[in-house]
Protein backbone atom coordinates (compact mmCIF):
# COMPACT_ATOMS: atom_id res chain seq x y z
CA UNK A 1 0.00 0.00 0.00
CA UNK A 2 1.44 3.33 -1.01
CA UNK A 3 0.76 6.86 0.11
CA UNK A 4 -2.56 8.27 -0.99
CA UNK A 5 -3.30 11.84 -1.97
CA UNK A 6 -6.49 13.52 -0.81
CA UNK A 7 -7.88 12.88 -4.30
CA UNK A 8 -7.41 9.09 -4.20
CA UNK A 9 -11.15 8.37 -3.96
CA UNK A 10 -11.85 10.77 -6.83
CA UNK A 11 -9.44 8.82 -9.02
CA UNK A 12 -11.20 5.55 -8.27
CA UNK A 13 -14.59 7.12 -8.96
CA UNK A 14 -13.28 8.34 -12.32
CA UNK A 15 -12.12 4.82 -13.20
CA UNK A 16 -8.40 5.39 -12.92
CA UNK A 17 -5.84 2.67 -13.46
CA UNK A 18 -3.68 3.26 -10.39
CA UNK A 19 0.05 2.63 -10.29
CA UNK A 20 2.86 3.12 -7.83
CA UNK A 21 4.87 6.29 -8.42
CA UNK A 22 7.68 7.05 -5.96
CA UNK A 23 5.71 5.34 -3.20
CA UNK A 24 2.40 7.01 -4.07
CA UNK A 25 -0.73 5.38 -5.51
CA UNK A 26 -1.31 7.60 -8.52
CA UNK A 27 -3.55 7.48 -11.61
CA UNK A 28 -1.74 6.32 -14.77
CA UNK A 29 -4.79 7.03 -16.93
CA UNK A 30 -8.58 6.98 -16.74
CA UNK A 31 -9.14 4.87 -19.86
CA UNK A 32 -6.96 6.29 -22.64
CA UNK A 33 -3.85 8.34 -21.99
CA UNK A 34 -3.71 9.41 -25.63
CA UNK A 35 -7.23 10.85 -25.40
CA UNK A 36 -6.22 12.66 -22.21
CA UNK A 37 -3.16 14.05 -23.97
CA UNK A 38 -5.29 15.43 -26.81
CA UNK A 39 -7.76 16.96 -24.36
CA UNK A 40 -4.95 18.99 -22.81
CA UNK A 41 -3.65 20.13 -26.21
CA UNK A 42 -7.14 21.03 -27.43
CA UNK A 43 -9.26 21.96 -24.39
CA UNK A 44 -8.49 21.41 -20.71
CA UNK A 45 -7.31 18.59 -18.47
CA UNK A 46 -6.38 18.31 -14.81
CA UNK A 47 -3.71 16.39 -12.96
CA UNK A 48 -3.45 15.48 -9.30
CA UNK A 49 0.12 16.46 -8.46
CA UNK A 50 -0.36 16.37 -4.69
CA UNK A 51 2.44 13.81 -4.43
CA UNK A 52 4.93 16.60 -5.12
CA UNK A 53 6.30 18.38 -2.07
CA UNK A 54 5.47 21.99 -1.26
CA UNK A 55 8.23 23.40 0.94
CA UNK A 56 7.90 26.82 2.53
CA UNK A 57 11.03 28.71 3.54
CA UNK A 58 10.72 31.49 6.10
CA UNK A 59 13.36 33.89 7.32
CA UNK A 60 14.78 37.35 6.85
CA UNK A 61 17.70 35.93 4.87
CA UNK A 62 15.71 33.49 2.74
CA UNK A 63 16.65 35.23 -0.53
CA UNK A 64 20.37 35.11 0.33
CA UNK A 65 19.93 31.44 1.26
CA UNK A 66 18.37 30.53 -2.08
CA UNK A 67 21.03 32.49 -3.97
CA UNK A 68 23.51 30.05 -2.42
CA UNK A 69 21.37 26.91 -2.63
CA UNK A 70 20.10 27.13 -6.22
CA UNK A 71 21.93 27.16 -9.56
CA UNK A 72 19.50 29.71 -10.95
CA UNK A 73 19.44 33.13 -9.31
CA UNK A 74 16.39 34.19 -7.30
CA UNK A 75 17.67 37.77 -7.57
CA UNK A 76 15.80 37.60 -10.89
CA UNK A 77 12.56 37.42 -8.92
CA UNK A 78 11.63 41.05 -8.28
CA UNK A 79 7.83 40.89 -8.58
CA UNK A 80 6.00 39.12 -5.74
CA UNK A 81 4.63 35.76 -6.87
CA UNK A 82 7.17 35.32 -9.65
CA UNK A 83 8.50 31.80 -10.22
CA UNK A 84 11.91 30.50 -11.21
CA UNK A 85 12.87 27.05 -12.50
CA UNK A 86 16.16 25.83 -11.09
CA UNK A 87 18.33 22.81 -10.45
CA UNK A 88 19.42 21.89 -6.95
CA UNK A 89 23.06 20.80 -7.22
CA UNK A 90 25.53 18.98 -5.03
CA UNK A 91 29.07 20.33 -4.63
CA UNK A 92 30.20 18.41 -7.75
CA UNK A 93 27.58 20.23 -9.79
CA UNK A 94 25.49 17.07 -10.15
CA UNK A 95 21.71 17.42 -10.17
CA UNK A 96 19.98 16.52 -6.91
CA UNK A 97 16.61 17.70 -8.20
CA UNK A 98 14.86 20.28 -10.32
CA UNK A 99 12.29 22.56 -8.74
CA UNK A 100 10.21 25.71 -8.98
CA UNK A 101 10.90 28.53 -6.52
CA UNK A 102 8.22 31.17 -5.90
CA UNK A 103 9.01 34.56 -4.37
CA UNK A 104 6.01 35.27 -2.13
CA UNK A 105 7.33 37.91 0.29
CA UNK A 106 10.83 39.03 1.20
CA UNK A 107 10.83 36.56 4.13
CA UNK A 108 8.82 33.76 2.49
CA UNK A 109 9.72 31.71 -0.58
CA UNK A 110 8.00 28.51 -1.64
CA UNK A 111 9.63 25.54 -3.38
CA UNK A 112 7.84 22.75 -5.21
CA UNK A 113 10.06 19.67 -5.50
CA UNK A 114 9.66 16.16 -6.93
CA UNK A 115 7.98 13.37 -4.98
CA UNK A 116 10.77 10.90 -5.69
CA UNK A 117 13.41 13.19 -4.16
CA UNK A 118 11.39 14.64 -1.28
CA UNK A 119 13.36 13.09 1.62
CA UNK A 120 16.77 13.74 0.09
CA UNK A 121 15.85 17.32 -0.85
CA UNK A 122 14.48 18.19 2.58
CA UNK A 123 17.62 16.90 4.29
CA UNK A 124 19.84 18.83 1.87
CA UNK A 125 17.86 22.05 2.16
CA UNK A 126 17.72 21.75 5.95
CA UNK A 127 21.48 21.20 6.19
CA UNK A 128 22.11 24.53 4.43
CA UNK A 129 19.23 26.51 5.93
CA UNK A 130 20.38 26.79 9.53
CA UNK A 131 23.38 28.95 8.63
CA UNK A 132 20.94 31.49 7.19
CA UNK A 133 18.43 31.24 10.01
CA UNK A 134 15.85 29.94 7.54
CA UNK A 135 13.00 27.73 8.76
CA UNK A 136 12.05 24.83 6.45
CA UNK A 137 8.43 23.75 6.56
CA UNK A 138 7.07 20.96 4.39
CA UNK A 139 3.39 21.61 3.69
CA UNK A 140 1.95 18.11 3.99
CA UNK A 141 -1.39 19.78 4.70
CA UNK A 142 -1.74 20.92 1.09
CA UNK A 143 -2.84 19.32 -2.16
CA UNK A 144 -1.95 20.45 -5.68
CA UNK A 145 -3.95 20.26 -8.91
CA UNK A 146 -2.56 21.30 -12.29
CA UNK A 147 -5.17 22.46 -14.82
CA UNK A 148 -3.69 22.69 -18.30
CA UNK A 149 -4.79 23.42 -21.86
CA UNK A 150 -6.00 26.29 -24.04
CA UNK A 151 -9.30 26.41 -22.09
CA UNK A 152 -7.76 25.71 -18.68
CA UNK A 153 -7.52 29.27 -17.39
CA UNK A 154 -11.05 30.23 -18.36
CA UNK A 155 -12.57 27.09 -16.85
CA UNK A 156 -10.51 27.37 -13.66
CA UNK A 157 -11.31 31.04 -13.09
CA UNK A 158 -14.99 30.10 -13.01
CA UNK A 159 -14.55 27.78 -10.05
CA UNK A 160 -11.82 29.45 -8.00
CA UNK A 161 -13.09 30.93 -4.73
CA UNK A 162 -13.98 34.59 -4.34
CA UNK A 163 -11.17 37.09 -4.60
CA UNK A 164 -8.66 34.49 -5.78
CA UNK A 165 -10.43 34.19 -9.11
CA UNK A 166 -9.93 37.84 -10.04
CA UNK A 167 -6.37 37.76 -8.72
CA UNK A 168 -5.62 34.66 -10.81
CA UNK A 169 -7.02 36.39 -13.89
CA UNK A 170 -4.35 39.08 -13.53
CA UNK A 171 -1.38 36.72 -13.25
CA UNK A 172 1.46 36.97 -15.73
CA UNK A 173 3.04 33.79 -17.09
CA UNK A 174 5.19 32.10 -14.44
CA UNK A 175 3.64 34.09 -11.62
CA UNK A 176 1.58 32.95 -8.63
CA UNK A 177 -0.62 34.46 -5.97
CA UNK A 178 -1.49 33.52 -2.40
CA UNK A 179 -5.19 33.78 -1.53
CA UNK A 180 -6.08 36.94 0.37
CA UNK A 181 -9.76 36.42 1.08
CA UNK A 182 -11.12 34.92 4.28
CA UNK A 183 -10.50 31.16 4.23
CA UNK A 184 -8.29 31.49 1.15
CA UNK A 185 -5.02 31.90 3.06
CA UNK A 186 -3.80 28.42 2.20
CA UNK A 187 -4.81 28.66 -1.43
CA UNK A 188 -2.16 29.48 -4.01
CA UNK A 189 -2.64 29.79 -7.77
CA UNK A 190 0.23 30.00 -10.25
CA UNK A 191 0.28 30.35 -14.01
CA UNK A 192 2.73 27.49 -14.42
CA UNK A 193 2.67 23.90 -15.63
CA UNK A 194 4.44 20.97 -17.19
CA UNK A 195 2.65 20.52 -20.51
CA UNK A 196 3.64 23.37 -22.83
CA UNK A 197 0.10 24.73 -22.63
CA UNK A 198 -1.52 27.60 -20.76
CA UNK A 199 -2.95 26.84 -17.38
CA UNK A 200 -2.72 27.03 -13.63
CA UNK A 201 -1.25 25.01 -10.82
CA UNK A 202 -3.49 25.34 -7.77
CA UNK A 203 -2.22 24.57 -4.26
CA UNK A 204 -5.00 24.25 -1.71
CA UNK A 205 -5.85 22.67 1.65
CA UNK A 206 -6.09 18.88 1.30
CA UNK A 207 -9.54 18.93 2.88
CA UNK A 208 -10.85 21.15 0.07
CA UNK A 209 -9.17 19.29 -2.80
CA UNK A 210 -11.99 16.84 -3.60
CA UNK A 211 -14.55 19.64 -3.73
CA UNK A 212 -12.42 21.72 -6.08
CA UNK A 213 -11.70 18.66 -8.25
CA UNK A 214 -15.44 18.00 -8.58
CA UNK A 215 -16.09 21.64 -9.44
CA UNK A 216 -13.46 21.46 -12.20
CA UNK A 217 -15.05 18.23 -13.48
CA UNK A 218 -18.40 19.98 -13.63
CA UNK A 219 -16.73 22.82 -15.54
CA UNK A 220 -15.68 20.35 -18.24
CA UNK A 221 -12.09 19.73 -17.22
CA UNK A 222 -11.16 16.07 -17.75
CA UNK A 223 -8.97 14.09 -15.33
CA UNK A 224 -5.61 13.13 -16.80
CA UNK A 225 -3.06 10.69 -15.44
CA UNK A 226 0.69 10.38 -15.20
CA UNK A 227 0.82 8.76 -18.65
CA UNK A 228 -0.47 11.86 -20.42
CA UNK A 229 1.58 14.05 -18.11
CA UNK A 230 4.72 12.30 -19.36
CA UNK A 231 3.95 12.55 -23.08
CA UNK A 232 2.86 16.19 -22.72
CA UNK A 233 6.04 17.23 -20.92
CA UNK A 234 8.18 15.30 -23.41
CA UNK A 235 6.51 17.07 -26.35
CA UNK A 236 6.98 20.35 -24.47
CA UNK A 237 10.71 19.66 -24.24
CA UNK A 238 10.72 19.53 -20.45
CA UNK A 239 13.14 17.31 -18.55
CA UNK A 240 12.04 14.63 -16.11
CA UNK A 241 14.20 14.21 -13.04
CA UNK A 242 15.58 10.67 -12.74
CA UNK A 243 15.31 10.13 -16.51
CA UNK A 244 16.96 13.08 -18.20
CA UNK A 245 19.19 14.18 -15.34
CA UNK A 246 20.24 12.81 -11.97
CA UNK A 247 23.17 12.74 -9.58
CA UNK A 248 25.59 11.48 -12.25
CA UNK A 249 25.37 14.49 -14.58
CA UNK A 250 25.43 18.28 -14.49
CA UNK A 251 22.85 20.71 -15.93
CA UNK A 252 25.32 21.47 -18.74
CA UNK A 253 25.07 17.84 -19.88
CA UNK A 254 21.27 17.84 -19.51
CA UNK A 255 20.05 20.63 -21.75
CA UNK A 256 19.69 22.85 -18.68
CA UNK A 257 22.59 25.29 -19.11
CA UNK A 258 19.95 28.01 -19.59
CA UNK A 259 18.80 27.48 -16.00
CA UNK A 260 22.25 28.12 -14.48
CA UNK A 261 22.94 31.79 -13.69
CA UNK A 262 26.70 32.26 -14.08
CA UNK A 263 26.28 36.03 -13.81
CA UNK A 264 27.03 37.72 -11.46
CA UNK A 265 30.39 35.97 -11.21
CA UNK A 266 30.70 36.56 -7.49
CA UNK A 267 27.55 34.59 -6.61
CA UNK A 268 28.95 31.41 -5.07
CA UNK A 269 26.14 28.85 -5.33
CA UNK A 270 26.54 25.19 -4.42
CA UNK A 271 28.16 23.40 -7.36
CA UNK A 272 29.42 26.57 -9.02
CA UNK A 273 33.14 25.70 -8.95
CA UNK A 274 32.49 22.37 -10.63
CA UNK A 275 30.33 23.93 -13.35
CA UNK A 276 32.85 26.71 -13.98
CA UNK A 277 35.55 24.07 -14.42
CA UNK A 278 33.33 22.03 -16.75
CA UNK A 279 32.57 25.10 -18.83
CA UNK A 280 36.27 25.82 -19.21
CA UNK A 281 37.08 22.32 -20.40
CA UNK A 282 33.89 21.88 -22.39
CA UNK A 283 31.22 19.19 -21.96
CA UNK A 284 31.61 15.73 -23.50
CA UNK A 285 27.88 15.03 -23.70
CA UNK A 286 24.74 16.98 -24.36
CA UNK A 287 21.00 16.31 -24.24
CA UNK A 288 19.19 16.60 -27.58
CA UNK A 289 15.70 16.10 -28.95
CA UNK A 290 15.12 13.27 -31.45
CA UNK A 291 12.37 12.46 -33.93
CA UNK A 292 12.44 8.96 -35.33
CA UNK A 293 12.41 8.35 -39.08
CA UNK A 294 10.15 5.42 -39.88
CA UNK A 295 8.10 3.36 -37.51
CA UNK A 296 9.24 2.25 -34.10
CA UNK A 297 9.28 3.53 -30.55
CA UNK A 298 12.32 5.09 -28.94
CA UNK A 299 12.23 4.44 -25.21
CA UNK A 300 14.20 5.20 -22.05
CA UNK A 301 17.45 3.21 -22.05
CA UNK A 302 17.69 2.49 -25.78
CA UNK A 303 21.22 2.64 -27.19
CA UNK A 304 22.19 5.46 -29.54
CA UNK A 305 25.01 5.47 -32.11
CA UNK A 306 26.31 8.55 -33.86
CA UNK A 307 28.38 7.42 -36.86
CA UNK A 308 31.96 8.63 -36.64
CA UNK A 309 31.28 10.37 -33.33
CA UNK A 310 30.39 7.90 -30.57
CA UNK A 311 27.56 6.46 -28.55
CA UNK A 312 24.75 7.74 -26.38
CA UNK A 313 21.52 6.70 -24.71
CA UNK A 314 17.83 7.60 -24.86
CA UNK A 315 16.89 9.23 -21.53
CA UNK A 316 13.16 9.72 -22.25
CA UNK A 317 11.27 8.43 -25.23
CA UNK A 318 7.87 7.41 -26.40
CA UNK A 319 4.96 8.09 -28.68
CA UNK A 320 4.06 11.69 -29.41
CA UNK A 321 0.27 11.82 -29.85
CA UNK A 322 0.55 15.25 -31.50
CA UNK A 323 3.16 14.20 -34.07
CA UNK A 324 1.95 10.61 -34.43
CA UNK A 325 5.47 9.23 -34.14
CA UNK A 326 8.15 8.58 -31.59
CA UNK A 327 10.11 11.44 -30.02
CA UNK A 328 12.86 11.31 -27.43
CA UNK A 329 15.55 13.01 -25.46
CA UNK A 330 18.99 11.41 -25.74
CA UNK A 331 22.32 12.08 -24.12
CA UNK A 332 24.82 12.02 -27.00
CA UNK A 333 28.42 13.08 -27.63
CA UNK A 334 28.75 16.85 -27.80
CA UNK A 335 29.94 16.66 -31.42
CA UNK A 336 26.63 15.15 -32.57
CA UNK A 337 25.03 17.26 -35.29
CA UNK A 338 21.97 16.29 -37.31
CA UNK A 339 21.40 12.56 -37.06
CA UNK A 340 21.91 9.38 -35.06
CA UNK A 341 20.70 5.78 -34.88
CA UNK A 342 18.57 4.33 -32.10
CA UNK A 343 18.25 0.62 -31.29
CA UNK A 344 14.47 0.42 -30.92
CA UNK A 345 14.47 -3.39 -30.70
CA UNK A 346 17.42 -5.74 -30.16
CA UNK A 347 19.43 -5.46 -33.36
CA UNK A 348 16.95 -3.12 -35.05
CA UNK A 349 18.36 0.39 -35.58
CA UNK A 350 16.28 3.32 -36.82
CA UNK A 351 17.54 6.71 -37.93
CA UNK A 352 16.52 9.69 -35.83
CA UNK A 353 16.83 13.39 -36.59
CA UNK A 354 18.29 15.72 -34.00
CA UNK A 355 15.84 18.60 -33.57
CA UNK A 356 15.41 21.68 -31.43
CA UNK A 357 12.93 21.34 -28.59
CA UNK A 358 10.16 21.94 -27.67
CA UNK A 359 8.59 19.48 -30.08
CA UNK A 360 5.17 21.04 -29.38
CA UNK A 361 4.23 24.35 -27.81
CA UNK A 362 0.69 25.72 -27.42
CA UNK A 363 -0.71 22.85 -29.46
CA UNK A 364 1.57 23.49 -32.43
CA UNK A 365 4.67 21.87 -33.82
CA UNK A 366 6.98 22.90 -36.63
CA UNK A 367 8.29 19.34 -36.93
CA UNK A 368 6.57 16.63 -38.97
Amino acid sequence: MGNKTSLYDQHLIAGAKMVDFAGWDMPLHYGSQIEEHHRVRRAAGMFDVSHMAVVDLHGLRVRAFLRTLLANDVARLTTPGKALYSCLLDTQGHVLDDLIAYFLTEDWFRLVVNASTRTKDLAWIQSHASAFGVAVRERTDLAMIAVQGPEARMRTLNVLPGTLSSAADQLLPFQGKIGEGVGEEDWFVARTGYTGEEGFEVVLPSAEAAGFWKALLAAGVVPCGLGARDTLRLEAGMNLYGNDMDETVTPLESGLAWTVAFVPRERDFVGRAALDAQRTVGVSYKLVGLIVEGRGMMRHGHAVKVPGVGEGIVTSGGFSPTLGRSIAFARVPAATTTECHVEVRPGQWLTARVVKTPFVRFGKSHWT
Binding site: I34, G227, T231, R295, M297, R299, F319, V344
Partner: protein, 131 residues
Protein backbone atom coordinates in the same frame (compact mmCIF):
# COMPACT_ATOMS: atom_id res chain seq x y z
CA UNK B 1 -12.26 -9.66 -19.96
CA UNK B 2 -12.54 -12.99 -21.74
CA UNK B 3 -14.62 -13.63 -24.80
CA UNK B 4 -17.30 -16.08 -23.73
CA UNK B 5 -17.83 -17.76 -27.06
CA UNK B 6 -16.91 -21.43 -27.14
CA UNK B 7 -15.21 -20.90 -30.51
CA UNK B 8 -12.27 -19.21 -28.85
CA UNK B 9 -9.05 -20.71 -27.51
CA UNK B 10 -6.19 -18.93 -25.77
CA UNK B 11 -2.47 -19.09 -25.09
CA UNK B 12 -0.50 -18.42 -21.91
CA UNK B 13 1.04 -15.46 -23.76
CA UNK B 14 -2.41 -13.83 -24.15
CA UNK B 15 -3.22 -14.48 -27.77
CA UNK B 16 -6.74 -15.59 -28.65
CA UNK B 17 -7.53 -18.04 -31.45
CA UNK B 18 -10.84 -18.51 -33.28
CA UNK B 19 -11.31 -21.41 -35.69
CA UNK B 20 -13.17 -20.37 -38.82
CA UNK B 21 -15.50 -22.45 -40.97
CA UNK B 22 -12.76 -23.08 -43.53
CA UNK B 23 -10.49 -24.42 -40.74
CA UNK B 24 -8.21 -21.38 -40.88
CA UNK B 25 -7.68 -19.58 -37.58
CA UNK B 26 -7.95 -15.90 -36.69
CA UNK B 27 -5.52 -14.59 -34.07
CA UNK B 28 -5.61 -11.55 -31.84
CA UNK B 29 -4.63 -10.51 -28.34
CA UNK B 30 -6.93 -10.71 -25.35
CA UNK B 31 -8.61 -7.85 -23.53
CA UNK B 32 -6.44 -8.73 -20.56
CA UNK B 33 -3.28 -8.17 -22.64
CA UNK B 34 -4.66 -4.88 -23.96
CA UNK B 35 -5.49 -3.76 -20.45
CA UNK B 36 -1.92 -4.44 -19.34
CA UNK B 37 -0.35 -2.67 -22.31
CA UNK B 38 -2.50 0.47 -22.48
CA UNK B 39 -3.07 2.55 -25.62
CA UNK B 40 -1.63 0.86 -28.71
CA UNK B 41 0.44 3.04 -31.01
CA UNK B 42 2.06 0.73 -33.55
CA UNK B 43 1.62 -2.78 -34.90
CA UNK B 44 4.33 -4.50 -36.94
CA UNK B 45 2.48 -7.11 -38.97
CA UNK B 46 4.04 -10.18 -40.61
CA UNK B 47 4.04 -10.67 -44.37
CA UNK B 48 1.28 -12.69 -45.91
CA UNK B 49 2.71 -16.01 -47.07
CA UNK B 50 5.17 -16.33 -44.20
CA UNK B 51 5.34 -19.74 -42.57
CA UNK B 52 5.47 -19.79 -38.78
CA UNK B 53 5.92 -22.48 -36.16
CA UNK B 54 3.80 -22.61 -33.01
CA UNK B 55 5.16 -20.22 -30.37
CA UNK B 56 7.33 -18.40 -32.94
CA UNK B 57 7.40 -14.59 -32.75
CA UNK B 58 5.31 -13.38 -35.66
CA UNK B 59 4.34 -9.80 -34.85
CA UNK B 60 5.14 -6.89 -32.54
CA UNK B 61 2.62 -4.58 -30.91
CA UNK B 62 3.81 -1.37 -29.31
CA UNK B 63 1.78 0.50 -26.75
CA UNK B 64 2.49 3.73 -24.92
CA UNK B 65 4.01 1.50 -22.27
CA UNK B 66 6.01 -1.23 -23.98
CA UNK B 67 6.77 -3.31 -27.04
CA UNK B 68 5.36 -6.79 -26.91
CA UNK B 69 5.96 -9.84 -29.08
CA UNK B 70 2.99 -11.76 -30.42
CA UNK B 71 3.54 -15.50 -30.80
CA UNK B 72 1.92 -17.77 -33.35
CA UNK B 73 -0.54 -19.97 -31.43
CA UNK B 74 -0.26 -22.73 -34.02
CA UNK B 75 2.06 -23.67 -36.88
CA UNK B 76 0.93 -22.55 -40.30
CA UNK B 77 1.01 -20.05 -43.12
CA UNK B 78 -0.07 -16.44 -42.71
CA UNK B 79 -2.95 -16.00 -45.16
CA UNK B 80 -4.17 -12.53 -44.12
CA UNK B 81 -3.22 -9.65 -41.86
CA UNK B 82 -5.38 -6.82 -40.55
CA UNK B 83 -3.93 -3.86 -42.48
CA UNK B 84 -6.34 -1.43 -40.85
CA UNK B 85 -4.20 -1.68 -37.71
CA UNK B 86 -1.46 0.25 -39.55
CA UNK B 87 -3.50 3.42 -39.45
CA UNK B 88 -5.72 2.55 -36.48
CA UNK B 89 -3.81 0.59 -33.84
CA UNK B 90 -6.41 1.78 -31.32
CA UNK B 91 -8.75 -0.92 -32.71
CA UNK B 92 -6.79 -3.32 -30.54
CA UNK B 93 -7.96 -1.37 -27.49
CA UNK B 94 -11.49 -0.73 -28.70
CA UNK B 95 -12.42 -4.17 -30.02
CA UNK B 96 -9.72 -6.76 -29.29
CA UNK B 97 -11.91 -9.77 -30.23
CA UNK B 98 -13.43 -8.17 -33.33
CA UNK B 99 -12.09 -5.31 -35.45
CA UNK B 100 -8.78 -5.59 -33.61
CA UNK B 101 -7.93 -9.04 -34.99
CA UNK B 102 -4.32 -9.31 -36.09
CA UNK B 103 -3.82 -12.14 -38.56
CA UNK B 104 -5.18 -15.37 -40.04
CA UNK B 105 -3.25 -18.60 -40.31
CA UNK B 106 -3.82 -21.76 -42.31
CA UNK B 107 -2.67 -24.36 -39.80
CA UNK B 108 -0.28 -27.07 -40.95
CA UNK B 109 -0.67 -28.99 -37.65
CA UNK B 110 -4.43 -28.87 -36.94
CA UNK B 111 -3.93 -31.08 -33.88
CA UNK B 112 -2.29 -28.18 -32.10
CA UNK B 113 -5.71 -26.60 -31.63
CA UNK B 114 -6.58 -29.17 -29.00
CA UNK B 115 -3.62 -28.17 -26.83
CA UNK B 116 -4.64 -24.51 -26.64
CA UNK B 117 -6.26 -23.20 -23.46
CA UNK B 118 -10.03 -23.12 -23.17
CA UNK B 119 -11.86 -20.31 -21.49
CA UNK B 120 -11.58 -21.74 -17.98
CA UNK B 121 -7.87 -22.50 -18.35
CA UNK B 122 -7.17 -19.01 -19.60
CA UNK B 123 -9.22 -17.43 -16.84
CA UNK B 124 -7.01 -19.31 -14.38
CA UNK B 125 -3.86 -17.93 -16.07
CA UNK B 126 -5.23 -14.39 -15.77
CA UNK B 127 -6.26 -14.90 -12.15
CA UNK B 128 -2.79 -16.23 -11.33
CA UNK B 129 -1.16 -13.14 -12.86
CA UNK B 130 -3.45 -10.77 -11.02
CA UNK B 131 -2.85 -12.53 -7.75
Amino acid sequence: MIEASAEYRYTKTHEWVRREEDDSITVGITAHAVELLGDMVYVQLPEVGRTVAAEEECCVVESVKAASDIYAPMSGEVIAVNDTLDASPELLNQDPYGAGWILRLRPTQPDEFASLLDQADYAAVVAEEEH
